[in-house]
């Protein structure tokens, strides 16, 4: 079936199988391999992308369900001249990653979370990231990075 999706601002249109999951569409059809597959069972959050600005797990959505919608992946976060998104910058600054496998999903989950909670407490950040697992960092620096990105001005365009 024909699927037309706007991914990181660019319109993409492909003939795919109805059963193709969004994450495989992104990775294998579009070559956007920044979005990872960790568990493939809706548990780890590594595959988190934004659907119309909201975090979703792309391993649990059909590409067909994204037809006509807007998707943002980690590749769409930094500006075209290579300047990191403030959330990415905060991860760099606060050492919010070690192996980096969970990081794309974390960044996308935080982007959605901060839109819903512009001035979060640390407890709210921790709860807001309950859908994302990290095997390396112990979460502390990820939470610090999210809080830093939430500081007034940090997310201003």
């Amino acid at each position: 079936m024909q699927v037309t999706v706007t991914v990181n601002g660019k319109t993409e249109s492909h003939d795919v199988e109805a059963r193709m999951l969004l994450v495989y569409y992104l990775r294998e059809v579009l070559g956007l391999t920044g979005t990872n597959v960790g568990c493939d069972t809706t548990s780890c959050g590594a595959c988190t992308v934004l659907l119309n600005g909201e975090s979703v797990k792309s391993c649990t959505m059909l590409a067909a369900q994204a037809d006509g919608e807007e998707i943002t992946t980690i590749e769409g976060m930094a500006s075209s001249d290579g300047v990191l998104h403030p959330i990415q910058e905060a991860f760099r600054e606060h050492h919010g990653l070690q192996c980096g496998f969970c990081t794309p999903g974390m960044v996308m989950a935080i982007a959605s979370f901060l839109k819903e909670h512009p001035d979060p407490t640390e407890a709210e950040v921790r709860e807001g990231l309950e859908g994302n697992l990290c095997r390396c960092t112990g979460y502390h620096n990820i939470v610090q990075a999210a809080l830093a990105a939430a500081r007034p001005g940090a997310l201003a365009p």
Partner: protein, 275 residues
């Protein structure tokens, strides 16, 4: 993990969805948020031949003040129930429970209708709707019917819905007075090992998560309270007549014990909150 092949159709209206369902009800499945169905399809525990995507049927996503009750469209996502001013004001239990489902990503996709229609005993929203004495509005080829929550949940993944019917609205009576929701799990995003939804206003309605093949009421507790028992005594009767599952998360015995503790906490909280 890749689901088995199926034909995908996107419905533009309830009528269109029902029409497609009626062509071959046994191998056709409605797809709402997909957060129960797609995981089952990926494991090939479900292999529908046709998926009818109702996710974008217009006019079925709302939380409305309808006088003595609140009406929620079946396609309203958990997140939208969680933050609805109407739900928070008149059925705070429902708004709170919607906010306890899974994690933010799950709440951005999953719908209240899918959660109720799926009939999973481990789900939170069925218990909330049962405690709130909700009514499920069902449309199908034989017209519209309304089923009380007490008659809707029949058994494991089994509800009053026929294969050619669609749940379109969930009605919950406005619930002044006290309420509480207790969910016990090991990790933040997990399903409840046992959960309790309680509404206390004069009488008490107590519904349990994961204490049987489907969501159930704690009849023993309700009877004890009606007969004038104190909270501790009533809570001790929570597992009466129930057969909770045994699984990796806990044995049936452990769940029976947990139910007494969580029902006590829920009743204390609901009473303190004005029940």
């Amino acid at each position: 993990m890749i689901p088995a092949s199926f034909e995908y159709r996107r419905a533009g209206s309830v009528e269109q969805a029902l029409g497609w369902l009626s062509e071959d009800p046994d191998s056709t499945k409605l797809l709402a948020g997909g957060h129960s169905l797609l995981p089952l399809m990926k494991l090939r525990l479900a292999t529908p031949g046709v998926l009818v995507d109702v996710g974008r049927v217009p006019g079925l996503s709302y939380v409305r003040d309808a006088g003595d009750h609140v009406a929620v469209g079946a396609l309203t996502r958990h997140r939208d129930v969680e933050i609805s001013d109407v739900a928070r004001a008149h059925v705070p239990l429902l708004a709170h429970v919607a906010g306890q489902v899974g994690d933010p990503q799950v709440r951005h996709r999953g719908t209240i209708g899918g959660s109720i229609a799926h009939g999973d005993p481990a789900s939170d929203l069925p218990a909330a709707v049962l405690a709130l004495d909700g009514v499920l509005v069902i449309d199908g080829p034989r017209g519209r019917r309304e089923v009380g929550a007490g008659d809707f949940f029949r058994g494991f993944l089994e509800t009053a819905l026929a294969p050619d019917e669609m749940l379109t609205e969930i009605r919950v009576r406005k619930a002044p007075g006290g309420w509480a929701f207790q969910k016990f799990n090991r990790r933040a995003q997990d399903w409840a090992i046992v959960g309790v939804a309680a509404v206390v206003n004069g009488g008490a309605r107590v519904a349990l998560v994961n204490m049987g093949a489907t969501t159930v009421r704690a009849r023993g507790t309700e009877e004890a309270l009606a007969a004038g028992a104190g909270i501790a005594e009533a809570a001790a009767r929570a597992p009466e007549g129930l057969e909770p599952p045994s699984d990796l998360q806990g044995s049936a015995e452990y769940r029976r014990h947990l139910a007494t503790v969580l029902v006590r906490r829920a009743l204390e909280e609901a009473t303190a909150a004005g029940g």
